[in-house]
Amino acid sequence: MASSVQTSPRIGKGVPPLRAGQGNSFFWRRLHSLSGIIPVGVFLTEHMISNFAATNGPPAYNDTVKFLTSLPALIVLEWVGIFIPILFHAGYGIYIWWRGDNNVTDYPWQGNWLYTLQRYTGIIVFAYILFHTYTMRFTGVHLATHPDQAFKKVHDELLHPWAMAIYVIGVVTASWHFGYGIFLFCAKWGIATGERARKRVRAFGIAVAILFMVLGLSSAYSFVNPKNQVPANSAASVNSSTQSGMTQAPATTDNQ
């Protein structure tokens, strides 16, 4: 009764079978996975720690920026260590996202939700990074030449409530994407293979995510409520902003 229609042994449509040994997608996909940890994740860690210097007040933060901007071959470090890897990770990540079929409505399980969340956080973080590098790196005071203006630049931008909201979203999504990414990396590369080992790594990844959220949000708080003086410094910003190419973002915050 359960009759079976004779079908061709060759598959005409549907999901194609494995193309054994063909193509380079293994290399690119694994490189994408690795690039999320090294160098993008390493840079995120450095960035979170460096920004945390803001909780020690403007001079401490400006000193940190001074040290970072004094590194040799800064432009090479920036492009090879940060920009190109992020662009690759984001670009290939969007390609991965576009090819996956989210199916949380039919299979509403934790791992599936986190799979979907990893894609959405990725796209949000990338949009945030574009905004963030535009306002902090490519416009306004050039911090590599004026590291002493660093705290004030961030302070002025974060005074704007919309900018602050975007920062909070950026910090939370970036922290989560990286934390859960640690788990995904360890699971896919076979660093943690067993059930319990993977659970431990996932707990570690989530702990990293929470730690980074705390670091990032307390840094953001310190930028608007600086330790020691600075209120005077920010009052002076109206005057000082006329010097050295301060354009859009700080100018609008001054008007608030």
Binding site: S4, D106, G111
Partner: protein, 249 residues
């Protein structure tokens, strides 16, 4: 309770090219009904809910005890075996659909030969040519047996593939079942002679790298195969081979 009925909506399709359509059936409730017994009942009296005569539902099934893997379908939207889907545990109306990622042959019957092609691509067998008596194979320790047994329970139902967000036409992902079979045969004392071939195959397009670790596979698997562990273990072996090949080839 006397006239309790069961409402079943079935997505039908006359042939691979035609448009699918829905038909509703109402059956008298009996204790211990499952989805397969319900479709059998419909076959015995193929009349829709509104009294229209129709054709019996085409579906695959064989063992009726969740060991053959034939009767996998979407039951209330989720991939599972129809024989072990008890009517009393399902929300009504019960919807039955063919797998969405496999070509429909007719009604609930789909062409799952992609799994067979994938198993061939990774050489999921123990190579024994059989031209002369090789004697008994190497002994497996109880530990090895215990590791291999759960993997050998795979019934090729393709639920893990249907539920996987990465298994689709654009990725051509091989799916968890095949990767788990690679682990089974790579740990087999005779089967492991083909280990390198299998790992190389999984590095191809649509290979293990396409796994996004959504972990639906291990959740839907009717045989409770540790599929995510298999993916991680084989992922490690493939990665090791990739690094070794990079420096030695």
């Amino acid at each position: 309770m006397a006239n309790k009925t069961v409402l079943i909506k079935i997505k039908r399709q006359a042939n691979p090219e035609s448009q699918p359509y829905w038909e509703e059936f109402e059956l008298t409730w009996r204790p211990g009904m499952n989805v397969i017994s319900s479709i059998m009942e419909i076959a015995a009296n193929p009349v829709t809910r509104d009294g229209k005569k129709t054709t019996p539902i085409v579906y695959d099934s064989n063992c009726l005890e969740e060991v053959c893997g034939s009767c996998a379908m979407l039951i209330n939207g989720r991939a599972r075996m129809a024989c072990s889907a008890l009517i009393d545990k399902l929300d009504q109306p019960i919807t039955l659909e063919p797998f969405s990622k496999f070509p429909v042959v007719r009604d609930l019957s789909v062409d799952r030969s992609v799994l067979f092609e994938n198993l061939k691509a990774v050489k999921a067998w123990v190579p024994v040519d059989g031209t002369y008596d090789l004697g008994s194979g190497p002994r497996m320790t109880p530990d090895e047996q215990e590791g291999a047994y759960p993997l050998s329970r795979c019934i090729s139902c393709c639920c893990c593939m249907e539920a996987c967000p990465q298994f689709n036409e654009s990725t051509g992902f091989v799916g968890a079942a095949t990767i788990s079979q690679v682990r089974l045969f790579n740990t087999h004392p005779t089967g492991k002679v083909l280990k390198q071939d299998r790992l190389s195959a999984l590095m191809g397009d649509g290979g293990i790298q396409e796994c996004g670790y959504a972990q639906n596979c291990v959740e839907v698997c009717p045989k409770d195969i540790p599929l995510t562990k298999s993916i991680s273990e084989v992922g490690k072996d493939v990665m090791k081979k990739a690094v070794v090949d990079f420096f030695r080839q």
